[in-house]
Amino acid sequence: MQMPSLELLGQSLLSGLFIGGLYGLLGLGLSLSWGMLRQINLAHFALAFLGAYLTYQLSEHFKLDPFLTMLIIVPGFFLIGMAMHWMFAKFKVTPFNSLLVTFGLAVIIESLIQWIWSADYRKLESPYSDIKFQVGKLFLPLPELMTLLIAIALSIATWALLRYTHLGKAMRAMSENPKMASAFGINEPMLALLLSGAASAFAGVAGACLALSFTLAPSQIYAWVGVVFSAVMIGGLGNPLGPLVAGIVIGLSEAATMAVTAPAWAPLVSFSLLIAVLLLRPGKV
């Protein structure tokens, strides 16, 4: 084992922070639908990639600004999320079966992506790709920085909405006990539809950010499942700030692991953290 130079270590920790922000952004919607609607949505990752490919398509071929594509993606994905919840509610899908159904859905979306954009790697060349800020000896690339800021803004906004508004309180009551909440006059089906729509819109936002800094391929969809679910579970289900905080912790630990050992061991980090948390904090997940 050999200690890297201080600048190198700082730069890799910084990139760990940025990737942690993306873990948090991807985990936010998952955490809401798992924690509050009792739906484990494996299709979330496929939706995020669909969002990424749409961003790629709209900015590469229609010359739209990558950040403006969100104006189209967010409402569209909101509708997809509502449609998914409508199906779950109609067939009374159990939490476990939701995992299987969304597994099927993820495969369908993956096939769709592969059919339209082929299995080849795609990389969005946006005007933002090369913009970097320099702080001391460290470089901050703009796309990654924006991703982190969006993740922080959305997580805090969701947290504040759930905590301080009437709508948010009604949603938390619904997630505690849907039947009881209905008996108290809360429009449970409507709120659940909204929540599911929001979760899916978050997937779209995460996808747009993904397209800004990552090379896309349909086979990459499942590579994110383990680490993002770890962030969701470590952060505590249904807690909007949890995935971001846990995601950043995982991102930093991965970066540190990669800097001092071989990159091969990075995937073990989130897994070991998850097992440790599950063992030390039973019942919380």
Partner: protein
């Protein structure tokens, strides 16, 4: 074991083994190889996941471990192909048991958590293999590995090897299905806590099933690596294997040993039709659609649906002859100490459910345990039966402290309980529920013995007519009596009856009181937890009152219920004193 199943194996396996003699074009043998390959993977997956309900999404990881074991041993170290297969099975099983030993220890590991953990491990192992010299990136070529000439052609040889493995895995799946291990796994599927309290060693059973499941996946991987002759991480550690095996088992019917084989045959044929027409992507999408449709519309699968149809049409199976069990062995004198709870404290986050409770139970008595709701009675039962481990104290039963032992040991030692809200295994019949208690309880009976004794106890509680019914078809009164029959079928030295009378009508209560007295007369000691004071006074020789997790009174029932502290615990203190 069913003679027809044995006959089917004896006739079909040699017939299928003769197929290469027909000298069909290699195309057919390759297709049959793929069908059998998926039968092995789906059936092996089902041994843990279908039987116990712990769906693994990591079957691809263990398959991949087998692939790379053989790839390294025969491709890089020049071992003979066949000799690598047992090693591939062993390495995969070691991985599986190692993972299981960690994750099955997690308290409250839910099925969905297990699914995600196993999915994640697939990519963890894949990344490590990709970045280490095991693969290193370019993949491993195995085209130079000699294939033993078992059949007349190479494709015939692969077909015969996989046929042998498929026959073996189906036989093992069938054997587990009929054996004690299978019964335990099905009980875990329905209600793991109840299974453990009834004496099923749940941790060990899940590990054994996981180990067997992974070993077969690993061996299938070993065979497949040489069959495809070039392996890469991207082709191996992806979601194709877990997706297909889950789909095949769910489509065929995951509660039956032969269901996954049915699903595997159907799906492989479908996939083959798609790839033959160059629609591989459409084929995968179709599988996604089928998976969703099956979950939503046909949760029992093809075979499950067919079996239900046949059972409805066929004459009901004759019930076993009831057999009165031998009397419960008296290991000690009547009146001596059978159970001693010493200084037990149990806390839940913020709440002290039991604080420093000490009580004794004497052999042959009916001890009443009463107290207001939330006083800690049910927690006491859960501590004695081993489900909750207390922070402090000992539970000594017949001279042995049960606290350091695994929970299921309480049942083996001779403790049984009933649940206030009945918790029968929902997908087992009334008879199967009672039989399971006999198989895993104090006597560890064989299935046939346990069945006949279970019939006796069903007659005893008046449920013999409903032996073939599912618990959901019973009313509350019948389900409460099923709880009693289950507790009795385990031949317990000590029975804990948790509010058996709640919700029953006055006449049903009378018959229940008679039953409880009869249970004691047949040699079991009874702890009777109840709110119904008439029943308590009629039955109990001694009474203990719990309030806020502490004993506030004990002794002669009539004196205890006159105790002012007991009255105020139940009814509250008077608002104005001196009235």
């Amino acid at each position: 074991m069913d003679r027809r199943v044995i006959a089917a194996f004896v006739v079909l396996v040699p017939l299928l083994a003769a197929v290469p003699l027909l000298k069909l074009p290699a195309f057919y043998e390759t297709f049959l190889y793929l069908v059998l390959h998926w039968i092995v993977l789906a059936t092996s997956w089902n041994i843990l996941s279908g039987y116990s309900g712990y769906f693994s999404f990591g079957h691809g990881a263990f398959f991949g471990v087998g692939i790379y074991t053989t790839a390294v041993l025969s491709g890089k170290l020049d071992w003979p192909f066949l000799s690598t297969l047992p090693v591939a099975a062993l390495v995969a099983a070691v991985f599986g048991v190692g993972l299981g030993a960690i994750v099955f220890r997690l308290p409250r590991l839910r099925g969905e958590l297990f699914g995600l953990l196993t999915l994640a491990i697939t990519f963890v192992i894949g990344t490590i293999i990709l970045n280490t010299p095991i693969d290193g990136g370019p993949g491993v070529y195995l085209s130079a590995v000699p294939v033993p000439a078992i059949g007349p052609t190479p494709s015939g040889s692969f077909y015969l090897i996989i046929l042998a493995l498929a026959a073996l895995v189906l036989w093992v799946a069938y054997w587990i299905y009929t054996a004690r291990l299978g019964s335990g796994l099905f009980a875990i599927h329905d209600d793991e806590d109840v299974a453990e309290v009834q004496g099923v060693p749940t941790y060990r059973y899940k590990l054994i099933a996981f180990g067997i499941s992974c070993a077969f996946a690993g061996m299938a991987g070993g065979i497949h690596s040489v069959f495809v002759s070039y392996v890469t991480v991207g082709e191996v550690f992806n979601i194709v294997v877990p997706l297909n095996v889950v789909l095949m088992s769910v489509l065929g019917g995951s509660r039956h040993w032969f269901g996954p084989a049915v699903g595997a045959t159907v799906i492989t044929a479908l996939l083959y039709a798609f790839t033959a027409g160059d629609f591989a992507v459409a084929g995968r999408a179709a599988i996604g659609f089928i998976l969703i449709a099956v979950i939503l519309f046909m949760p029992q699968g093809i075979l499950g649906q067919l079996l239900r149809y046949w059972r409805k049409r066929a004459a009901p199976k004759p019930l076993p002859q009831p057999l009165p069990p031998p009397p419960i062995p008296r290991t000690g004198q009547s009146g001596e100490l059978i159970l001693s709870v010493e200084g037990v404290t149990k806390q839940f986050t913020g709440v002290r459910a039991l604080s420093d409770v000490t009580l004794q139970v004497h052999r042959g008595e009916i001890l009443g345990l009463v107290g207001p709701n939330g006083s800690g009675k049910s927690t006491m039962v859960n501590v004695i039966t081993g489900l909750y481990k207390p922070e402090a104290g000992r539970v000594v039963f017949n001279g042995t402290d049960l606290i350091p032992l695994p929970s299921f040991q309480a049942a083996h030692a001779g403790i049984a309980r009933t649940y206030q809200i009945p918790r029968p295994f929902a997908s087992l019949t009334v008879l199967e529920n009672a039989t399971l208690a006999g198989m895993f309880g104090g006597r560890q009976l064989s299935r046939s013995q346990a069945e006949r004794q279970a019939m006796h106890w069903l007659e005893f509680v008046g449920l013999a007519e409903r032996a073939g019914a599912l618990p959901t078809e019973l009313n509350l009164h019948q389900r409460k009596f099923l709880e009693l029959a289950r507790a009795l079928a385990s031949a317990p030295q000590l029975v804990l009856l948790d509010e058996v009378l709640a919700g029953l009508t006055p006449s049903e209560i009378n018959s229940a009181i008679t039953l409880v007295r009869e249970i004691r007369n047949r040699g079991s000691t009874v702890v009777f937890i109840e709110h119904n004071m008439r029943a308590v006074l009629e039955l109990c020789e001694r009474l203990i009152v719990l309030n806020y997790g502490q004993i506030i009174a004990s002794g002669d029932p009539r004196k205890v219920i006159a105790d002012p502290e007991v009255i105020s615990a139940y009814l509250g203190t008077p608002h104005e004193t001196g009235r």
